[in-house]
């Protein structure tokens, strides 16, 4: 059971993220929702990396013990980097949107002309 807790957390995070994206009207909250989904996926990748009785894959210092394969770590890192880029892009677009429309409400933006 204790090993399943991370997976439960993953599903919860993704679901909360989807809830925020679908239900919230504030653009910043939508962005937060996407970040939550991303955190969930990253947590999932990191959880997959752990194998029982293994240590962190640092070249020196593992001794004779088993090292876990660091590929998921690399994948997570890449996905975090991409996430930062996407986040920055979304926030800067939101700044522009706010300048044009004076509101962050998704429904009101849809109604306004130019």
């Amino acid at each position: 059971m204790i090993y399943n807790i991370p997976y439960i957390a993953v599903v919860t995070l993704v679901l909360i993220g989807l809830y925020a994206v679908i239900m919230k009207r504030n653009l910043i909250k939508i962005v937060i929702g996407i970040t939550l989904i991303e955190s969930g996926v990253n947590l999932f990748l990191i959880t997959l990396a752990y194998r029982e009785d293994s240590v962190a894959p640092i070249y020196h210092g593992s001794g004779m013990r088993l090292m876990s394969l660091p590929v998921p770590h690399a994948l997570t890192l890449t996905s975090i980097v991409i996430g930062v880029a996407v986040l920055a892009l979304m926030l800067s677009l939101i700044i522009h949107i706010y300048k044009h429309y004076g509101t962050l409400d998704a429904k009101e933006i849809g109604r306004k002309e130019e």
């Binding site: 962190a56 640092i58 070249y59 020196h60 890192l77 975090i80 980097v81 930062v84 920055a88 926030l91 800067s92 700044i95 300048k99």
Partner: protein
């Protein structure tokens, strides 16, 4: 943002060098310990973001120009991809670790517990990525803070 009180500014002046050194350490030791270009770059950039917060984006923008940062960022990216191309030229394979095996520069692998002079082009690529991340993240924070401030409102 017009900057914060004197206490904050003083504390930032004390903490900033330490943060920068810590970030640069993580970049330099990326091939030996957990960390690397992105992580260290993020630490350095967060230190610089501290500067933006405490001194105000207008003050910072006057001293560090955004276009210089984007040139630096391009330089970092160019360094990364250029090293990959050097691998193609010297190591006959794209992204090849062509420095591995030479005696002088980053040639060895696994010599000594924490010898920086190892692992071929990986530390060099870490430096390039670090440069790119520092410049990129700092530029993002700076431009966003400036665009939402009063003076930069019409950016």
């Amino acid at each position: 943002m017009m900057g914060m009180s004197k206490i904050v500014k003083t504390m930032v002046s004390v903490a900033l060098p330490l943060t920068l050194i810590y970030g640069l350490y993580i970049i330099a030791h990326g091939h030996l310990t957990p960390g690397g270009g992105f992580q260290g770059g993020a630490v350095v950039a967060s230190g610089l973001a501290m500067l933006v917060v405490s001194y105000g984006s207008v003050w910072t923008m006057d001293r560090i120009k955004e276009k210089h940062l984007s040139s630096l960022e391009s330089l970092g990216a160019f360094g990364f991809i250029g090293l990959a191309f050097l691998g193609l030229i010297f190591g006959s394979w794209f992204f090849n670790n062509f420095l591995l095996g030479n005696e002088y520069l980053f040639g060895m692998i696994g010599e000594g517990a924490s010898n920086i002079n190892t692992a071929g082009v990986i530390p060099l690529m870490n430096f390039a990525v670090g440069l790119k991340v520092i410049a990129g993240l700092f530029a993002i924070v700076l431009v966003m803070a400036y665009a939402t401030s009063k003076k930069g409102g019409d950016l």
